[in-house]
């Protein structure tokens, strides 16, 4: 097996051996969807939403929250603790290049979070009759762009945090505003003009809208795709710039 696939397999195994990390990164978002779906008013059609129900609106929010949890509670801490314990230093004495290690982490993160997304879509469809994405290709593209942007932010947090403890503190600090603008407490549909403009420029705000559009069978707006790409490039570039082995 090549170093990349061997690293990906190993990292996935290690990930699955941490029940608490797995719970927050993978199980929490689907559970939240179930809890929300059990509230009767969430399943009532809302005339102002063109007949959509709140649960329809919340599904992409929950999907994007799954990605955010994965990158900000899983990925960033993992990297910071590897650095803290000298795991990265030890790897540096081997022929494996840092990009391969990061690539393996991202691959693992992508696979795990795509699985989470599929679980969320399945629960939504089977339990609460939420429709599946109308534009599947657009949905997948939007999903991957959100995932890349968030993973880049997670790696940036890992690069900047002095320790794994501070990585998790910074991670939560970043998580709450991002998930607010995704619409967890106040869906984008209910945001005022200014709030919504800010939301358009955040990775999860742009992401939720893109997923929403793709679900409705349309292509996401270029603005939102551009915002997601910009976050990926800027955060990813800074993460590479500030990456430290020790």
């Amino acid at each position: 097996m090549s170093a990349l696939s061997r690293l990906t397999v190993t990292e996935t195994r290690l990930f699955l051996r941490e029940p608490i990390v797995v719970f927050f990164a993978v199980a929490f978002a689907p559970i939240l969807l179930i809890v929300l779906g059990l509230i009767p008013s969430m399943r009532e059609p809302v005339p102002e939403l063109g007949g959509l129900r709140m649960i329809d609106i919340y599904l992409p929010i929950v999907v994007s929250m799954g990605i955010a949890l994965f990158s900000l509670s899983g990925l960033s801490q993992l990297f910071a603790s590897y650095r803290e314990k000298g795991v990265l230093r030890r790897l540096r004495t081997t022929p494996v290049r840092p990009v391969v290690l990061i690539g393996a982490q991202l691959l693992m993160a992508t696979i795990m979070s795509v699985l989470t997304m599929l679980v969320i879509l399945a629960i939504g469809r089977l339990a609460f009759d939420v429709r599946l994405p109308g534009q599947l290709t657009a949905y997948l593209i939007a999903y991957l762009l959100v995932a890349l942007a968030m993973f880049a932010i997670g790696l940036l947090v890992a690069a900047l945090a002095p320790s794994s403890k501070s990585a998790s503190a910074i991670g939560s600090l970043v998580f709450f505003p991002l998930i607010f603008f995704a619409g967890l407490w106040l869906p984008r549909e209910a945001m005022s003009g200014t709030l919504r403009t800010i939301s358009d420029l955040t990775p999860l705000g742009a992401g939720v809208q893109s997923l929403q559009d793709a679900t409705a069978g349309q292509w996401p707006q270029p603005l939102h795709l551009a915002v997601l790409l910009a976050w990926t490039v800027v955060a990813g570039g800074l993460a590479a710039r500030y990456f430290r082995w020790e």
């Binding site: 097996m1 090549s2 170093a3 061997r6 690293l7 190993t10 195994r13 290690l14 051996r17 941490e18 590897y82 314990k85 000298g86 795991v87 230093r89 030890r90 540096r92 004495t93 081997t94 022929p95 494996v96 290049r97």
Partner: protein, 311 residues
């Protein structure tokens, strides 16, 4: 041709010069030791050789590769065991070996390595659950899994009990017999004496001697120590008057007599004349320890004294 060439290596941390113009060359097939007290700059030196640290001056070549150039080829030919590094807590021994062997072009048979290192029973044990000695052995195995031509071992036996330490020495000799050149950092005299073909003694960032262990001992040869517990109080003058004796010290209930020539005979004859019996009489040969004191003006460190050879 030398397999490792270090020439005028300088490394500074801020204003502090940790390594100050160290030069040495290691021949293929050697076990080459770097010996020195805590903070001498041993780890810094080998980490520059491993390409982990950027030197501020001098040049380093390993198998002809510039170690500071970032050439990936260095990592194929050099296997490293770091003084401080861990693996992920839940990574299992077998998984670690499998993973690390996937990094190399021409890896060794990792199962055989694990066998040699007596870790076969621990294949499924997570790193966190290994004992200190098992962790050390695993890190030696990982350093060798790429079939390196040079293995750099930084204090592999620190923290091991005496038996585990002896096992590790046997192992290191067997690795050398497989044709691997070994650069061994240690601050155990006994280890250096037993294993190393040649030694670089480093103190405060400078190379103070480079010789075989026997060569280093020979520099201070002629000195011996006799240690005993006198059966009755004894005037030091009785002994210091002897031409063979250079000094007499009291160590608890014992006397330590240092001198040259036929020291033992001179001391026992003098004691017999005084009708004093020498209890627990021991002659201590000049050791590397003494050589180290002579070279640096101090003992390597306190923890080491228990390891000195006594007859």
């Amino acid at each position: 041709m030398a397999i490792i060439e270090v020439d005028g290596l300088v490394k500074r941390y801020g204003g502090h010069t940790a390594v100050d113009g160290v030069s040495f060359a290691v021949e293929p097939g050697e076990i080459f030791g770097i010996l020195g007290p805590n903070g001498a700059g041993k780890t810094t030196t080998v980490e520059c050789i491993e390409g982990l640290r950027r030197a501020d001056g001098g040049s380093i070549r390993v198998c002809g590769i510039d170690a500071q150039s970032g050439d990936g080829e260095l990592r194929q030919v050099l296997g490293a065991q770091l003084q401080e590094s861990e693996l992920p807590d839940k990574l299992r021994v077998g998984e670690a070996m499998e993973l690390y062997s996937s990094f190399y072009r021409d890896p060794a048979d990792w199962r055989e390595l694990i066998e040699t290192l007596h870790l076969t029973g621990k294949l499924n044990a997570p790193f966190r659950k290994l004992s200190g000695g098992q962790k050390q052995r695993l890190s030696i195995a990982l350093a060798l899994v790429g079939n390196p031509r040079v293995a750099v071992l930084d204090e592999v036996t620190t923290g091991l009990d005496p038996q585990a330490r002896r096992d590790a020495w046997d192992l290191i000799e067997r690795i050398r017999d497989r044709g691997v050149t070994i650069l061994l950092v240690t601050h155990f005299m006994e280890e250096a004496e037993r294993l190393c073909d040649r030694l670089a003694v480093i103190d405060a960032g400078r190379l103070v001697a480079l010789d075989t262990p026997a060569g280093l001992v020979a520099r201070v040869d002629g000195r011996q120590r006799v240690r005993f517990r006198p059966s009755a109080p004894l005037e030091h003058a009785v002994l210091t008057a002897l031409p063979e004796v250079s000094s007499v010290e009291r160590a608890g209930s014992q006397l330590v007599v240092t001198g040259t020539g036929n020291l033992l005979l001179a001391v026992t004859t003098a004691l017999a004349r005084e009708q004093i019996v020498a209890g627990d009489l021991r002659v201590e040969q000049t050791t590397l320890d003494d050589a180290f004191v002579a070279l640096t003006g101090r003992r390597i460190d306190a923890t080491n004294s228990a390891g000195s050879e006594e007859i």
